[in-house]
Structures are given as C-alpha cells and as structure tokens.
Symmetry: C2
Subunit: 431 residues, 2 copies
C-alpha cells in the first residue's frame, strides 16, 4: 500500500493508497460521511460509505474531533467538484490519536487568543498560505543574489559594540566580563565582506528593543542585506528594483493558490513591473505638502507620512537623498550637495511602508572618523570598521530588505505579526 | 570600456577592459612590472611595460602597497602560465586609494592577531576558499530540503523558556518585565511546524554560553534543522545520510578550486558515498573498549571518545540508541528497550566529531508531561509543546546539522573558528 501525500494523489487514480494527515472537519449527508483531511501539502475529502468502508472506520467516525491524526486508506477517485480534483473512497481509517477538543473553533477569535495558540494557529489554511509565501520570498531573494555571484556571508548576531546607541538594543552578559548586544543589522560586517569577496549578502534575524506597538514592528525580524564593492547609489537603486521584481515574479509564478486563499487582489501584485518610481526626499516633501501634511525640511517621515507617499503610487517608490542629519553616521554625503546623504528607502505600495533601507557608505577615513566622533560612538569599537577605509577603500553601497514587511505587503496582511512563524513583540514572547 | 570581473576576462581576449580590485602583491623583473590583483571572483596578473603602459601608471607602481584599491585598464591576453589562464597588458592604472601598510604580512601570524584582524583576514585566499565552501554547504542543504517539499519555517531566537537549563543560555532583559533567552535549537518550534506543514526546516544561528575552549565549540553557530511528521528514527537516519551526500556532492562539483587551495585531500571526500556506517551506542562502546578506552554503559562520549570512534571509519558513522538518561527530555524511548532513546548522532570521519544530532520525539502526552517534571522544567513554559500531543499527536522525528563543523570537516580545518565569517568564542567578541 502506497503512503502518499495529498498533492500527489493524482498519480494514483483508481488505486488504493493511504494518506496520513489531520482532520480539519467532518460532516455527514444521509448515510454518507465525509472527513476533510490536511497533511501540509493540501486538503482532500475522504468519503465513508457503508459497504465500501469497514465497520471499524464507520464507528470511529463519530469519535473523531478536529485535528485528530489519521491514516486513511481508500481508492483515489477523480472528482471535479472536490477541492484538489480528487477524493478518497475510504476502506479503512486508523487514528494515531483522537484529539482533545480543539481550542481554535471555526468562529472568530481575538488576536491575543490566536497569538497564545500560535503553535496551533499555524495549522489554519490562512497561516499555511502566508508562510508558504514567506518561504518563497526568502528563497527568491537568496537565489537572486546567488545567481548574480554574491557570496553568502552570515553576519554575527552577538556584537561587542552598539552601533546606533544602546536604547533599542537587547544586551546580554558575555561570560561575566563584558556586555554583548544583539545585532540590529549585518551591514558593517557586510562592508568588510564586500572588500574581500566583491559582492556579499547575509540573511538572518535582527533585533530591535523598540518600545513601539505598531502594525509594522517586530522585536525580532529577518533581513537580507547585500553589499557591493565598486558600487554607488545608482548601482544599488537598480539592484533594489531588480530584487523586488525577482521576488514578485517568483511569488506570482509559484504561489497563486496561496494568494487566492488569502483573497489577495492579485492584479495589484501583477502591476509590480519595472521601472519603479524614483523621487528625492524633497519631492516626497512636496507630495506631503500637496496632501496637506507639510513637514519641515530635515525631518524624518513617520509611518503615517510613509503611507501618504506610498499611496500616491501603484508600484514601489524609491526615495533617495534624505537629509544627512537624520541618517546614520556611515552614510556618505552627496558631494554635490553635502546636506543630503546618498541614501535610499523603498516604500511598498498600498501603505505597507519601508521595505528597503540603504545607501552608499562613507569611504573616506578622515570623514568617517569625524562622523563616529560626532555620533559619540567609541572610536575603539570601530577601529576595525575604519580599517576597511585604510586598506583599499573603494566606493561601496548596499541595503537591507525586511522580509516580514515584504511578506505582509505581498499577502495583503493588516499586521506584520502573521508574516513570521513565531512573532516576537513587546508583549509577546510565548509560545 | 567594459568593466569586467576577473572570472569573466576570458570572454574579452584581445580587448581592452578595466578591472577593479585590490593589490595582493607586486614584483618587478628587469624593466617589466607586475601587479597581482584580486576582486573577489579570482586573481589576475597585470603586466606594466614601458611603451605599452602610460607614465602615470609606471610612476604609481612604486607607491602602491598591498591592498591598495585599483582600476587597471589594459588588453586581455591568453597566457597558459598565468593562474586563471589570462593576464592584462596594462595601459593605465588609477588608484581609488593607496593603502596604509597592511598589517597582515605574508609571514606567519599568531591566531590571536589574525582573529583581531578578522575583517582583513577574510581577504586571504584561504579564508576566501573556506567561506565559499560554507556558502555551498548552506545552499546545498537548503536546496536539499526545498526539493523534497519541506517548508522553510524560521524558528524564533528569543524564547521565554529555558529548554535545557539556564547555565548555558545567554539571557537578556525583555522590556523590563521578564527574561528572554537566546535559542539553543529551533527543534521544539519545528515540531509545531511539522504538525502544520508535514515537513519543515529552519536554518539560523543558535547560541551556547558554554565555558568550553575546544576546537569544536563556538558560542554562536548555525544549524539547519529538519522535522518530519509521520516519521520514525529509521526515516530520519536515511534523511541524514541523504543530506550529507547531497552536500558533499555539491561541494565536490562546484568547489574543486577551493578544496585545492586548502590543500584538502580530496580523495577522502570523494569516498563519502552511501551507505554510511550504522552502529548502536553499545557497538560504539565496544569500539572504545577495543581501543583501550572503556567507558561504563550509560555515560556520554566526550570529544576524545568521538574521535576514537570516528577514526574507526572512513565515512560518517550513524550512532543510534544512546542511553535515555543522557538524552534530552523530548526524546522517545525505544518501546522494545526502554533504557535507550530512539536518537541519532552522526560523527564525521577524521575526528571531526558530531555533525548531526537528532531522533524521534516523545509523542505521548502523559509520558512527555512526566519527563518535563523529571527534568524539573516549568510545566507552564511547555504548555504549548504539550498541546502538540493533545491535538493530533503523530510519530515524528528530526535532527540538526551543525554548519560550522560540517564546513570544518569538508575543508579539513584544525579549528572550527575559521568556518564562520565572524567567530564568537568565550574570549572573542571583536570585530
């Protein structure tokens, strides 16, 4: 007897197979009983009929509660009306375990309740769809860089220095004699990598101990961060666009079923083709002004301003050259206009906010040293970072793409918390 | 003028190109001067000859120190004696930056010095080779699971519970009101995932605050961890073997140049073909006894015992069924012999130690509850984990493969610290 996955039953039409899975629901209609099964690859209807199905299975039917784990044996039949195009005419059912009463009922639950039961909530078709899209987003991004000759270079998570102040850093004792901090970005390490390998990327978790409870923030989130030697702002603006296009194409190609399940308006995603919109910070200010939300030059955008700007466009918008004063010390100022940094943010459409941040890095030792002092950072901590400018400095640039916000956008999620298997928020560390 | 990468110059024979890279060394022979350049894709010799090369470049030559960043323009010439088969007949050289005196000289340096300069040490051909192999190991492992229908499910790093005691855990304050711990393994979360997706894996950093200074230990290391529903010990033993075979094949296929550079004895790697050796813990004890290193039944192997056992074989050896008393609470005991766990360790050959650990998980609620109590863990922390047994428990199994030890083995490294871009050790948190 072949044990087969639900997504492979099509190859066994007319044959007897066994499917191992979990009961999503059951119903009966007259003398016919139906079990709906899921196994992670799909769902299928199993039909129990007196005469075809053994007595043991017919008796078991009444005992079975949702999420009971079963081995269902029967004949594969083509059925146009069935979800996957096939059903099973059951001869036998064995239970691995008859489940207790499942806490997640088909009715509406509050978010707190679902988050407390994230380990079970993952079994819902909605979460199945979202996390499949996440898988594809990550793999498409990695493949994009692999195919272009980037070297994967994992950045460290534990770091000895605090790069952007300690207020939003998680810290831990490191063997009694010092503090270590959880990384907020692999960028500085990728810069070292770019000088060794030319083009590198990292993909891993990053951490922000930010006391913010918005729908766009997680305390633990994943980023993919490329860094390129002999590159300027223009180079990585093209790279950022090409990356997003590659991710969107792969999701559209392989995750149609998931997007439909999420009731995502796919036409909006199909519009995401190059070229994207490119505007300067100054032009973004003008858009805000026209929308009656004037902001003085030199101030950073908040979430609501990002939403206004991104709603102005039906595709991602690349915003370049923000005021240097609101950007990190490692950004290179525009030689033609020193009050702006050669930096880049990409806002997703439909109000999904910033999905990419990056820019060209300061490559002059003396200027960088000054900026480190101005930022009141410990020179000692950044000795190695300055070394990168002392020994063969070159123009270089890179960015970070936030995985969760990208997934939230593509899936059309209200809150970023559903875009990661086990979300960590200010008030959420369980399960 | 085409700007080309060194590994692509073959397509430009006879044409004038510009190569951007760093100077690894220079030499002169009579009136001819040579610059050796690297750009992350390879190395190439650039030849400066009076008459062919402009005066500016000939003057610049004398100023150039190692690691200076250069744009070298000239004609691509085939040359059998050259490392990559081509050289550049230089017309012009421009320096992005003339480097300071490079601290890493071609002479021998102590490990501490090299580790202090890890950000520069990465530029050496040896580190270039090792980290390319690492890239391939990770990608081959991920592709192996992707191709078999596993869903990528990133495990959280910050967790609220300490799964194996707090002594080897890094802890951090979580918004003032509680402690969070850095994950030692994604396994428990992967078990939740397997019940939702059937087959899942995670690949990410894990942490051990272990006070050990051996050549096999890092405080931060990467693991890839598959978990499979409806699977037993036998299933994942086959999966572990197939994974290692897939990794080895990909490394042999794509990283010959790197293995040669590392002077790795490739014949030893070519031997790594299925079937691997499979022995029980009891048989491993016998091997130790025969080697004059008797160990009482019930004790765990230390590094030196692992070395003795692994040296006994020219391929990886799978050791199953260790005493339950030395294994974690979540392991399922063998129903035919309750004093042993249905677990698995894989030792790499040549004394490289354990590269895989895993097994079949306890799937009975009552037994698991008891084991959690015996291990003196907080029942409350594991409520969600017990839920996985209450709602559709199934036989399931999985394992974790340590990336760094696998890389160290394949590259033939003395110490695992070279197998990760920025190693973290008890006494090492910089750069």
């Amino acid at each position: 007897m072949a044990i087969v996955k639900i997504d492979a039953v099509g190859g066994y039409e007319g044959q007897s197979v066994t499917i191992c899975g979990w009961l999503t629901h059951k119903r009966s209609s007259g003398r016919i009983r139906f079990l709906m099964l899921r196994d992670g690859t799909g769902t299928i209807q199993a039909t129990l009929i007196k005469g075809e199905t053994n007595e043991h299975a017919l008796d078991l039917y009444s005992e079975l509660l949702q999420e009971s784990s079963l081995a269902v044996t029967g004949t594969v039949r083509r059925d146009k009306r069935a979800p996957g195009g096939y059903e099973i005419l059951v001869s036998d059912v064995e239970a691995f375990q008859v489940a207790d009463t499942y806490p997640i009922a088909p009715k509406e639950h509050g978010v707190g309740f679902l988050m407390d039961h994230r380990h079970l909530w993952l079994r819902s078709s909605r979460q199945w769809a979202i996390l499949h899209v996440r898988h594809t987003v990550i793999n498409a991004a990695r493949r994009f860089f692999d195919d272009q000759g980037f070297t994967l270079l994992d950045a460290p998570i534990l770091t000895g220095a605090s790069c952007e102040g300690t207020t939003t850093l998680f810290e831990t004792d490191y063997f009694g004699d010092r503090k270590a901090y959880l990384s907020q970005s692999g960028q500085l390490y990728m810069e070292a990598g770019a000088m060794a390998f030319g083009k590198v990327y990292c993909c891993g978790p990053t951490f922000r101990a930010e006391k913010s409870k918005t729908r766009r923030h997680l305390t633990e989130f994943w980023m993919i961060e490329p860094e390129v030697a002999f590159a300027d702002l223009e180079t990585i603006m093209k790279l950022a666009e090409a990356l997003i296009v590659a991710i969107v194409e792969e999701v559209l190609k392989t995750r149609q079923q998931e997007l439909h399940l999420l009731e995502r308006d796919i036409t909006r995603i199909e519009k995401i083709r190059p070229p994207f919109y490119v505007i300067s910070y100054d032009e973004a200010l003008q858009i805000l002004k026209d929308a009656g939300e004037s902001l003085p030059w030199g101030e950073d955008f908040g979430g609501s301003q990002e939403t206004i700007v991104s709603n102005h466009f039906d595709k991602p918008v690349l915003i370049h050259r923000y005021p240097a004063q609101i950007k990190a010390f490692y950004m290179k100022n525009d030689p033609d206009r020193s009050e702006v940094a050669l930096c880049l943010d990409v806002l997703a459409p439909e109000g999904y906010g910033e999905i990419i941040g990056g820019g060209q890095r300061e490559d002059d030792t003396a200027i960088l040293k000054e900026k480190i002092e101005e930022a009141e950072l410990l020179a000692e901590d950044f000795k190695w970072y300055l070394d990168l400018r002392r020994y063969g400095s070159v123009p270089h640039a890179g960015f970070g793409l936030g995985i969760e916000r990208t997934v939230a956008w593509l899936c059309g999620l209200e809150h970023v918390r559903e875009s990661i298997p086990f979300p960590r928020l200010m008030d959420r560390l369980y399960p």
